[in-house]
Subunit: 337 residues, 2 copies
């Protein structure tokens, strides 16, 4: 296998200097048309590709985004994150970026990993998933001035000054359940129940709010049930409630796991056609023919890159971290089945 050609080889072949070859690659606009074509021909003939490590060393940029792969927890909704990572990878490569994975079991271990990756110049930016209240990772990243965006809002009290803001992208959960509720009001009937998680989770409360708003706006009302995120618990709960109150016309759920439980309960009670809407549009819901709110991970990925790199650039931007409340809120889409 012959040695890979370098800029030097291309330059010689095209009768120009190293730097001109570099310019053709990085700022073609400043090279004269005729010269550029000659260089491009030489590049193609030699099959030249820039050596990433050399470029990184000189520019001090790795053009790489670090993403933590969360430990597999089981459960149905992991798919959303996987689709997000996939979309991020695709869109990153369009922008000349790469996605590097890392694994960590605890926040402390994650910070250790990030130290290695950041100090070693392996990544220019980080995408955090599953952020939580008083997250040590966000403050660490801000202190180190590492560009990052989180997938998920910082759910914090309005009067909380301890947690400085940071850029984030999230899906508008309330909009999703609002759309689901409106659809059911129009097609199923006025008695629509909400099946949610116990109050206190930012995401769950947000999704519940969408149902509540849509119901109020329509002058309708329905019960609000809650349970932990478990198909079996949801099945039992909905079974009991439906048996006690057969007037329910439809159920909006804050997660597909709950929706599947609700659907099975309804089926067991002889009402397999009872409309149920879930959240996340997981393969399981799809396979069972249950409607669901789709998170559109592709748009989340696009939003993340916009925040990190601006609407068009190919380089990670370094902004003033102190006052960055930039964010993107993606409108989810109702998938009716």
């Amino acid at each position: 296998m012959a040695k890979a050609p370098t800029v030097e080889d291309v330059a010689r072949a095209a009768g120009v200097s190293r730097q001109t070859v570099s310019n053709v690659l990085n700022s073609p606009a400043i090279v004269r048309g005729a010269t550029r074509e000659r260089v491009e021909r030489a590049i193609a003939e030699l099959g030249y590709r820039p050596h990433a490590a050399a470029r990184r060393l000189r520019t001090r940029r790795s053009s790489t985004i670090g993403v933590r792969l969360d430990p597999y927890r089981g459960g149905i909704s992991g798919v959303v994150l996987d689709r997000f990572v996939h979309a991020l990878t695709e869109r990153s490569s369009e922008r000349g970026m790469r996605v590097l994975l890392y694994a960590a079991r605890t926040p402390a271990e994650e910070i250790e990993r990030l130290s290695d990756l950041v100090d070693g110049g392996e990544i220019d930016a980080v995408v955090l998933t599953n952020t939580f209240y008083a997250d040590t990772r966000t403050s660490w990243l801000q202190a180190r001035n590492v560009p990052f965006v989180s997938f998920g809002r910082p759910w914090r009290a309005a009067d909380d000054d301890d947690e400085p803001p940071h850029p984030w992208v999230d899906v508008d959960g309330a909009a999703g359940t609002r759309a689901a509720t409106k659809y059911l009001l129009a097609h199923a009937g006025p008695r629509i129940a909400l099946l949610g998680w116990p109050e206190g989770s930012g995401t769950g409360d947000d999704r519940a709010r969408g149902w509540h708003e849509a119901m109020s706006a329509a002058g309708a009302s329905g019960p609000r049930w809650s349970t932990e995120d478990s198909l079996a618990l949801a099945r039992d709960l909905v079974g009991a409630e439906l048996a006690a109150d057969p007037t329910i016309d439809a159920i909006v759920c804050v997660a597909d796991s709950l929706a599947i439980g609700a659907h099975l309960a309804a089926t067991a009670l002889g009402r397999p056609e009872l409309p149920v809407v879930g959240f996340d549009n997981t393969p399981a819901a799809e396979a069972l023919g249950i409607s669901s709110v789709e998170q559109l991970p592709e748009q989340v990925a696009a939003g993340v890159l916009d925040l990190l790199m601006g609407p068009t650039g190919g380089v990670v931007l370094r902004r003033d971290p102190a006052e960055d409340e930039a964010h993107v809120l993606v409108e989810p889409r109702l998938v009716v089945r």
Copy 2:
């Protein structure tokens, strides 16, 4: 933010030369104990971390493994791959390796991506998933002498000389269904059906074989049904077959999607307790309380790294590609619910 320290800084602080610092990091055995400790102290005090790009440039190794993220196809079984990628990331970092993702929609596009990554020195090795018959990617990688391992056997005719062998890791599907069948023979009864895919898929036939072997060995018999990989089709098929032949004691399925369909059909016929075993142990099966054969992606990941790097090394090995039939066959585990 102060400039990151370099080997030079560490060397000065410890009163030794650059190279000695480098040796402490890369071959500590050849450095005298006292010197080593002094250098290690300096490293810790300065918080030094080697700059990955400089190292890569000099050593011409990226210590990075490329993994393609397959396009999201929907369907229930994607989880296995995701768990595999996660396990690979964890184990790689234990060996000083990183995992870089790339996306591609077609084999041709994938080869284009790989060209960039390999020629650019971004990856030292590749893990292929979803290999298929006459896969252009494997021959391309072999021609370029790029180390790689596939997750999944090359299912080829025994007399096929066109396809040179390559290292692979796979799960022993037959062993999985064999275990499931034996378990059901012992706990449910002798009439065990197999629900498989149409003949011709390597994976599906392999799994069906396990059932067949276990049944023959026990002198038992049962029908073999096939359908495409669809929950709804499986439900309809099993519903009809069970109604026609109520003597069935249990069903072994080659995928969780089919198992869920079978379970729902049984439930609808008033036999919710009919034992059904799936394959892949997906969250959906878990949530529904369906037994399943677990692929153990962690062991697959370990096998992949062993093949790429040997049982202990920290460097990707470059073997003779012409005669490499090395492989690892992982024994899956039956999860009873």
